[in-house]
Amino acid sequence: MSDWYSMNVVLIQTTLTTLLLALSIQVPIRFGVFSFAGVGAFGIGGYTAAIAMVHLGWTTWPSVALGAVISGIVVFALGLLVQRLTGLYMGMATIAFTLIISVLAVNGGELTGGAGGLYGALGEIDTGHILAILAVVVAVLVWTETKGMGRRIDTVREDPELANSVGIDVVKYRLASFALSGVIGGLAGGITTLLRSTITPAEVNFHLVIVALTAIIVGGARSWLGAFIGAVIFVWLPTMISFVQEWEKVVYGFIVAVAAIYLPNGVLGVVKDLIHRFRTRQERARLAVLQEKG
């Protein structure tokens, strides 16, 4: 077991950081805000953490924390600016924000290391640390998914006018989703960077947006659990299908397309369906037994 662990520790850690990144995109979508600023936050958090370590000589966790705080603030400020936008217009504006972050990094001179990026920022992070941080993040998200809070957020997403009329401050909820997405994205960026020891502008790109989006849609967009399933699938899929060798990417594309067609609510939806069906069958069986007895 521990042999397996040491062989796959990178994949395990990558799964966790990918989950954080996916969550930073999923949170605003659950609030009805089509924002990809989480990927920009990933860049800000990563760069901030690397700069704090390389230039300021900070230790691991203060660097990560600084990254999370700064990206939280920046993305919140972005939220104030773009909150009026809807739908894909919001999507475009936040993608523009993300790409601008990348250009800033290219032109950041000594501070950001220019096109070559920053290297040598190797933090002291192990799987336990990431799990602990993730536990806190997930706990917060579970709270936003359950009972009253969950229903209020669903209303904000599905029917903002209704939400306003029943006294839910839609604007406040949406801004909160920006801040939350910024902090989570910043954490993802900081941890990923200090695990790898490097960050370059080329990483903070449209491709990362696609990775995160694909993970949550295929996994399930409405719950953190869906994002988790998506992260597991997309991090482990390449190793699972590496036997097809050079056609790996073809198989990958095929699997993504098939998932989009046949899994309307993602893998999580299928699992929930199966559980539901199983329960109803049990229920029916129980009723049948009762009726026979009666």
């Binding site: 809807t86 217009y89 475009m92 250009v103 989006l213 993504v256 067609i261």
Partner: protein, 294 residues
């Protein structure tokens, strides 16, 4: 003056690529992420064919147009149509269409990368670009063709969508697909035709741009995709005229930045511009006010 000509040339490149994407997205509401791959693969097949036998200009274009139409038609038939059929409404389908497109796009990309080892490819054609010199301005014949084709098709499509019976039906589908069906519009067939047309446009763009640039790489399509996305949002979704204007505005902004010799800031400036325009006019330059929620 020469700069204006360059803007016209670059803008027409963007426009040719963006038109097909704008047509399907703005009317039948399909944001096709496989458009870049369709574009690239049409040119790639052109490359394969011309490496067997040398072909004249028009023949290469024809091959690419047919391949583009075929890929898009297949995408619609095998991916998007099943998704639409399995979705309760357009809103639920949108995300899945996006992801489905991403999956589909991975397949031709992987094939082309594998075949070319990602080196750039061009055409072997009897056509040789010549440079025209008029009043001291230099313009290659290919650029001239690209400018004329871009403008002609852009204006043609604008007029067609605005004036023709099918164009009207397409716009009606864009507003409310079900009610349009109630008026006798065969949505499936029209969507299929529109996708094939958009694919043909992608193929045309693929052939013309490969002639214009000399060669493209398998990844070129992805880079254009994000620009096209920006152009359509900039111009206003659903407005073909907006797309035409958006393409030249983006090209103008980029050329301006390049001429001031801030080459590394090009993306920041063009996306910053889009950001600002969205803030000032959330529906894009010529977009309609009500934008469907996504």
């Amino acid at each position: 003056m020469q700069d204006l000509l360059n803007v016209a040339s670059l803008g027409s490149i963007y426009l040719l690529f963006a038109l097909g994407m704008a047509l399907v997205w703005g009317t039948i509401g399909i944001l096709n992420f496989a458009h870049g791959a369709t574009f690239m693969f049409s040119a790639f097949v052109g490359h394969l064919v011309t490496s067997e036998t040398e072909l004249p200009f028009l023949a290469v274009v024809l091959v690419a147009v047919l391949v583009g139409a075929a890929i898009a038609a297949l995408t619609q038939l095998l991916a998007f149509q099943p998704i639409l059929k399995r979705s309760k409404n357009q809103h639920a389908a949108e995300m899945r269409i996006l992801i489905g497109g991403i999956g589909v796009a991975a397949i031709p990309l992987a094939i082309a990368q594998h075949q070319t080892r990602s080196s750039p490819f061009g055409f072997r054609s009897s056509y040789e670009a010549e440079v025209l010199e008029i009043f001291g301005l230099r313009l290659s014949t290919t650029s001239a063709v690209v400018i004329v084709a871009g403008l002609a098709i852009g204006i043609g499509l604008t007029v067609w969508v605005r004036r023709s019976r099918r164009g009207l039906a397409l716009r009606a589908i864009g507003v409310d697909a079900e009610t349009a069906a109630g008026m006798g519009v065969n949505r499936t067939l029209l969507a299929f035709g529109t996708m094939a047309t958009a694919g043909a446009l992608a193929g045309l763009a693929g052939a013309l741009l490969t002639f214009q640039l000399g060669a493209i790489a398998p990844e070129t399509g992805d880079q254009l995709l994000i620009k096209a996305f920006a152009i359509i949002v900039l111009g206003g979704l659903g407005s073909m005229a907006g797309t035409v204007i958006g393409a030249y505005v983006l090209a103008g902004a980029e050329t301006l930045v390049l001429n001031l010799n801030y080459g590394t800031w090009v993306d920041a400036v063009s996306f910053g511009l889009i950001f600002l325009i969205l803030l000032a006019r959330p529906q894009g330059l010529l977009g309609r006010k009500e934008v469907r929620r996504t």
